[in-house]
């Protein structure tokens, strides 16, 4: 019997009040221990999909489910099972890394862990110990991103949602980040990631979905993509839907 998917989009559609159709009946699922990379340009619908899973907006049609829970019907219950890392992790600049981690961990509904657990989480994401007690106002984007991942780790949610997580990171930080994603996947976490970064997607994703103009135009296991030129494939699908195909 197939495992229940951790992320599931079923005919997910979003039309905004101004009439723009941001998502057009997309369906996909992400199993535990699987990384799903949503590729697509600006306006493809990736962030709208994420916002629907977080219940920041409600779908016009269809459902976004997390572990079988429909997000717009039981948002609080669904959010207990999801950890979110945004493109640009913004935390409280006057709080230290440890204070930020403590605050967001408490918000997740988990009983407050020990200080050593926070320390371990921060070390795991590669944040050096001397930075743990420093205020975030002096942190680089990469350091803040690491704090964001640590928050997600501390939440210990079975589903992790990442919105352009490697955007703006230097190659070293990007490499470390991919390693971290792999280890989370190996722990059985289901990871749904939106990205522009074709190469990182190919590197870590188990399934790659290409989105364009609110539609899921291609969805394939990464095993099927081995040896293929991802950039060419991506351009073919984008061009095919934009009329640029030659």
């Amino acid at each position: 019997m197939a495992e229940r998917p951790m992320f599931e989009a079923a005919g997910l559609t979003k039309r905004y009040e101004d009439g723009v159709l941001a998502l057009d009946h997309i369906s996909f699922s992400v199993q535990p221990g699987e990384v799903y990379a949503m590729l697509g340009g600006n306006g493809a619908g990736k962030t709208t999909t994420i916002n629907l899973f977080l219940n920041f907006i409600e779908p016009t049609e269809g459902e976004a489910r997390i572990d079988g829970i429909v997000t717009h019907r039981e948002p609080l219950k669904a959010k207990e099972k999801i950890a979110f890392v945004s493109e640009n992790v913004m935390l409280y600049p006057n709080f230290t890394a440890m204070q930020n981690l403590d605050y967001f961990t408490r918000l997740s509904g988990r009983p407050a862990p020990s200080r050593s657990a926070y320390r371990e989480a921060l070390l795991r994401v590669g944040l050096e110990e001397e930075a743990h007690g420093k205020r975030l106002k002096g942190f680089s984007k990469g350091m803040r991103q690491k704090c964001g991942i640590a928050i997600a780790i501390m939440k210990n949610a079975p589903a992790i949602l990442l919105d352009e997580p490697t955007s703006g990171l230097d190659p070293q930080a990007g490499f470390e980040f991919i390693g971290l994603l792999r280890s989370l996947r190996n722990e059985g976490k289901a990871i749904l990631m939106s990205t522009h970064d074709i190469f990182r997607a190919k590197e870590v994703a188990d399934v790659v979905g290409i989105m364009n103009r609110g539609q899921l135009v291609m969805q394939r296991p990464s095993g099927e993509l081995a040896g293929q030129d991802m950039e060419k494939l991506y351009m073919q699908h984008i061009a095919g839907h934009t009329g640029l195909a030659s």
């Binding site: 907006i57 979110f84 935390l91 409280y92 006057n94 967001f104 408490r106 997740s108």
Partner: protein, 488 residues
């Protein structure tokens, strides 16, 4: 969850650099205002004691019961340290005698107009203007600032109920701003106690209520800041909007209410009323003079053909009768003038009261007005201070004039003015000088009106209730707006 959110709000405000600056400014202002208030109160008490002694001495050295005049003074109240209200605007003393109405004169600001120009910084002013502005400055970006900072998204990716979040915003901001401010307030109260200012239990009750009203007022502006931050997407917009609303509520509406009431229900000026009374008095005294002239001519007619001796004998015989007639005429005129003056003043007072009620009703749209009215009611330094003292002084004037009348009778003479008429030189007024001092040991003393907590609380409770309603409305608005707030 709620506790976590509240603690975070507390920490976020306490850790912000603007908090330290705000706290330092507020503490300094509060302590300075109380220190100045104590000094002014002690000076006022000293002046009051000296003035009472001087007035008593002045009464003892007067020579005529008829012309006996004393002066009554407003007694300083320790509550003026916290809320001076109109204390410095209205007169401090009034002459008490049988021939002029009670009128408070010599206000502090009349003596030192420079203070009227810039006013002093008192505790109620600090709460009304400075703290309300700080409340707005701390909360205008409570919600939209977090959205702009990106923390709102991360917060709501967790199972956080919106109701808990917005409630924590209010509770956390309230605790972070109110509790630290209680420190200088308590220090200020301690300063008052250390200076030996006599505070009766009644004063403590009024002070406690005043602090409660101040908290309600402060709460309103915290809730208002949060409301504006939930109604706007950008903190720059909410900053400008908050400032505009603050200026309107604190600086414009209170004045506008009074101006609108003055335009809708105009009241004649004091000068106009005085001119009316003077015209009436002049008219009556002229009539009295004509009557006296008539009487004099009649008396001269009656003495026509008499020898000098007969004339002197006749005059001696009639002297008392004529004097009584003249005195009765004078008394009648004075009574008419007094009656007219009372009627005109009563009418003016009623019209002023109507205007006042309208002005208060209109300006109460603003929580700043409600706060000002409540605090002045509690301190007893509101607009009623003047009428309360004038009423008490009028009552005293009645007792005083009755005392003087009784004394006049007891000492045998009318004690009135003597009017002599000479065909060559006309009328002459003179007072029968009684050499030596008058025995005024049993002169009733003026007792300053005492205002009790129950009376002040009764009038303040409406404004306190209004402040509670305003605060609730602002928070309810923020609560409802946030339920549909786009956290992205």
């Amino acid at each position: 969850m709620l506790g976590t959110l509240i603690v975070k709000e507390l920490k976020a405000i306490l850790a912000s650099p603007k908090f330290a600056a705000t706290f330092a400014v507020c503490s300094l202002l509060i302590l300075l205002s109380i220190f100045i208030g104590i000094r002014e109160y002690r000076t006022a008490v000293r002046q009051y004691d000296e003035a009472l002694q001087l007035a008593a001495q002045n009464v003892r050295t007067q020579a005529s019961w008829m012309g006996l005049t004393t002066t009554t003074y407003r007694m300083p109240d320790p509550m003026q340290i916290f809320i001076p209200g109109v204390n410095n605007d209205i007169g401090r003393l009034s002459a008490i005698n049988g021939f002029e109405d009670v009128k408070l004169k010599n206000s502090t600001y009349a003596d030192d107009p420079i203070f009227a120009l810039f006013r002093s910084i008192d505790f109620s002013f600090i709460v009304q203007v400075v703290l309300s502005l700080f409340a707005i400055l701390f909360t205008y970006d409570a919600v939209n600032g977090e959205r702009e900072g990106g923390t709102l998204q991360l917060t709501f990716s967790n199972p956080v109920p919106r109701s808990a979040y917005i409630l924590a915003k209010l509770a956390g901001s309230w605790l972070a701003l109110v509790v630290p401010l209680l420190v200088p307030v308590l220090l200020a109260v301690l300063l008052v106690m250390l200076h030996g200012i006599p505070l009766a239990p009644d004063h403590w009750a009024r002070l406690g209520f005043f602090l409660l009203v101040s908290l309600l007022f402060f709460t309103f502006f915290i809730a208002l800041g949060i409301l504006i931050s939930t109604l706007t997407r950008r903190s720059a917009t909410s900053f400008l909007l908050s400032l505009a609303v603050w200026v309107t509520l604190v600086l414009i509406v209170p004045r506008l209410g009074v101006m609108a009431a003055a335009a809708a229900d105009p009241v004649p000026s004091i000068a106009e009323i005085e001119a009316r009374i003077d015209a009436f008095a002049k008219d009556r005294w002229e009539g009295q003079m004509k009557e006296m002239e008539g009487r004099w001519q009649g008396r001269q007619e009656a003495m026509k053909g008499m020898t000098k001796e007969e004339r002197e004998a006749y005059e001696q015989e009639k002297e008392k009768e004529w004097s009584n007639d003249d005195e009765a005429g004078r008394m009648s005129v004075q009574k008419d003038i007094d009656t007219y003056s009372t009627r005109v003043n009563e009418d003016l007072r009623n019209r002023k009261l109507n205007q006042e009620h309208l002005a208060f009703a209109l300006s109460r749209i603003s929580p700043a007005s409600a706060y000002q009215l409540a605090s002045m009611s509690l301190a007893g330094t509101g607009v009623s201070l003047k009428s309360r003292y004038e009423d008490a002084m009028r009552e005293y004037r009645t007792a005083f004039t009755q005392y003087v009348g009784r004394k006049q009778k007891e000492t045998g003479g009318q004690g009135g003015f003597r009017i002599t008429v000479d065909s060559q030189t006309g009328f002459h007024f003179s007072a029968p000088r009684e050499r030596g001092t008058l025995d005024v040991s049993d002169l009733p003393a003026f007792l300053p009106p005492v205002i009790r907590f129950s009376e002040t609380a009764a009038s303040a409770v409406i404004d306190a209730g209004l402040l509670a309603v305003f605060s609730l409305m602002a928070f309810a608005g923020a609560f409802l707006a946030f339920q549909r707030y786009d956290v992205r």
